[in-house]
């Protein structure tokens, strides 16, 4: 058994008086595909945002790939991480957002090549070659020169996935990546993610309302409610035989709302 790639240890986070995360601990193994489900406001998206350093934690510790995320060790003492340490840690992590967050003033391929060229000093030719491979993987090669505004939501999201992959992160975070899509565009994005899961050993954390996809995709499912993990287990256990009342209630509501399980 190897060591966990993410180790979250008793973290708490409040927005004003609202406690989003309350002493949460969890671990993720390398290569694991993890689905985080639960009602809105339960803290699942906040975890991804904290791992991407878009939000800071109030207390607790996070270890990513053997190193502290928000702290750095100096002469045996644990200090708050500075921007340089955070930049180093961010290299390990990539994120895909609900609303794609593409750069609207740059064409598709420039969206993908920008970060490798700027942050890793990859020469343009090499960055473009790699970008074309990634765009090929997400089925967007023929749109390499298109502007984001010319793309459908599903296409934008596939470009966003390629853009995040271009930095070769060890961990990928997917934050409700199909929630903003028209229903008929959801599958093209999910197919890309299936392919990604099959072809790479990347660790993937997925916040989603697509229960059917979570069931097929994840090795493990965590059910969140009010900033805590209420129940976790293999997809079959959680979706077919949920033990906790809150999990059962949530799944019942989701099914009633017409989501596939």
């Amino acid at each position: 058994m190897s060591a966990p790639i993410i180790k979250i240890d008793g973290i708490s986070k409040s927005f004003g008086t609202f406690k989003v995360l309350d002493g949460l601990s969890m671990q993720v193994m390398p290569g694991e595909k993890l689905a985080l489900i639960g009602p809105s406001g339960s803290g699942k998206t906040t975890i991804l945002r904290i791992l991407m350093t878009l939000e800071r934690i109030d207390s607790g510790h996070i270890q990513v790939d053997g190193e502290q995320l928000y702290h750095m060790e100096r002469n045996g003492r644990l200090l708050t991480a500075d921007e340089r340490h955070l930049a180093k840690m961010r290299q390990k992590i990539g994120m895909v957002f609900q609303l794609f967050n593409l750069f609207p003033h740059k064409c598709v391929i420039d969206n993908v090549t920008l970060a490798p060229m700027l942050t890793k000093g990859v020469p343009r030719a090499a960055a473009e070659k790699r970008a074309m491979e990634l765009l090929d993987m997400v089925g967007m090669v023929d749109k390499a020169k298109a502007m984001p505004a010319q793309l459908s939501g599903g296409q934008k999201q596939r470009v966003a996935i390629a853009r995040a992959l271009a930095l070769s992160p060890k961990i990928m975070l997917f934050d409700e990546v199909t929630s903003a899509l028209d229903p008929e565009l959801v599958d093209e994005v999910l197919n890309v993610m299936r392919k990604l899961a099959a072809e790479t050993d990347m660790t993937m954390l997925l916040v989603t309302h697509e229960m059917g996809f979570a069931h097929d995709f994840a090795d493990r499912v965590l059910f969140f409610d009010r900033g805590r993990i209420v129940e976790e287990g293999k997809p079959d256990e959680i979706f077919r035989h949920p033990k906790q009342e809150r999990t059962q209630g949530f799944l019942k509501k989701i099914i009633a709302a017409g989501h596939r399980v």
């Binding site: 878009l54 957002f97 967050n101 750069f103 920008l114 505004a149």
Partner: protein, 219 residues
């Protein structure tokens, strides 16, 4: 008739001075706008304070007084400027203060999700500003920059008060020599208006060029 053509020559010379002032003043204003606009958004208190002081001072005092300071008071501090230098300095600093707020507002208008994408892609602060935020913010700034440039053009008339021979100054000359007010002042009215139209048109076409592709229609 020959007499009038001589006077028109004077006014044309004035027009060149006005154009020169407008161009040089705009360049200085642009530089100041970005320095102070970015300064106001800085993490560092000293930079924020300096930028705010500059903006409030130059917006809050009259350009007329600023010009007189630049031309008549600075020499006491050992800095003697030509009328043109004093004019460019006063106009650039004054309009730059207004435009700095345009820069700041435009940068603030770029959505949080763009900054978050930059963080997720591990871009540094300056890289994000330079490659992602500013190019998008520039498009937001442009229309108001056009307004600022036209304001600057019209404000150039004050330099006639330090005897720089711009359009307005030359119109006064013609008026005092011919006793006719209607002709010279109608002429410069038309020229100011034409120059303002030129600026509007220039800014609009620049805006169109930069917006290309952003709305998914024009490519």
């Amino acid at each position: 008739m020959t007499q009038w053509s001589g006077y028109f020559g004077l006014i044309l010379q004035g027009a060149l001075v006005t154009i020169e002032l407008t161009l040089m003043g705009s360049v200085l204003a642009l530089v100041m706008a970005f320095l102070a606009g970015l300064g106001r958004l800085s993490r560092f208190f000293v930079l924020r304070a300096l930028a705010t002081a500059y903006i409030e001072f130059f917006r809050g005092t009259s350009i007329f007084v600023q010009l007189f300071w630049a031309y008549f008071v600075l020499p006491f501090a050992g800095i003697s400027l030509t009328p043109l230098q004093a004019g460019v300095l006063a106009l650039g600093l004054n309009v730059g203060a207004y435009a700095a707020e345009v820069v700041r507002g435009a940068i603030k208008s770029i959505g949080r999700e763009q900054y978050e994408a930059c963080t997720a892609l591990n871009l540094g602060r300056w890289q994000a500003m330079r490659h992602i935020i500013l190019p998008q913010a520039l498009l937001v700034m442009l229309p108001t920059f056009g307004n600022n440039a036209i304001e600057l053009l019209k404000a150039t008339a004050v330099v006639s008060l330090i005897s720089l021979a711009d359009l307005t100054f030359q119109a006064q000359v013609v008026r005092s020599q011919t006793g006719n007010t209607l002709v010279p002042f109608s002429t410069i009215l038309v020229i100011y208006f034409a120059l303002a139209l030129l600026i509007s048109w220039g800014v609009r076409s620049l805006e169109r060029r930069m917006a290309r592709g952003l709305d998914g229609v024009r490519v």
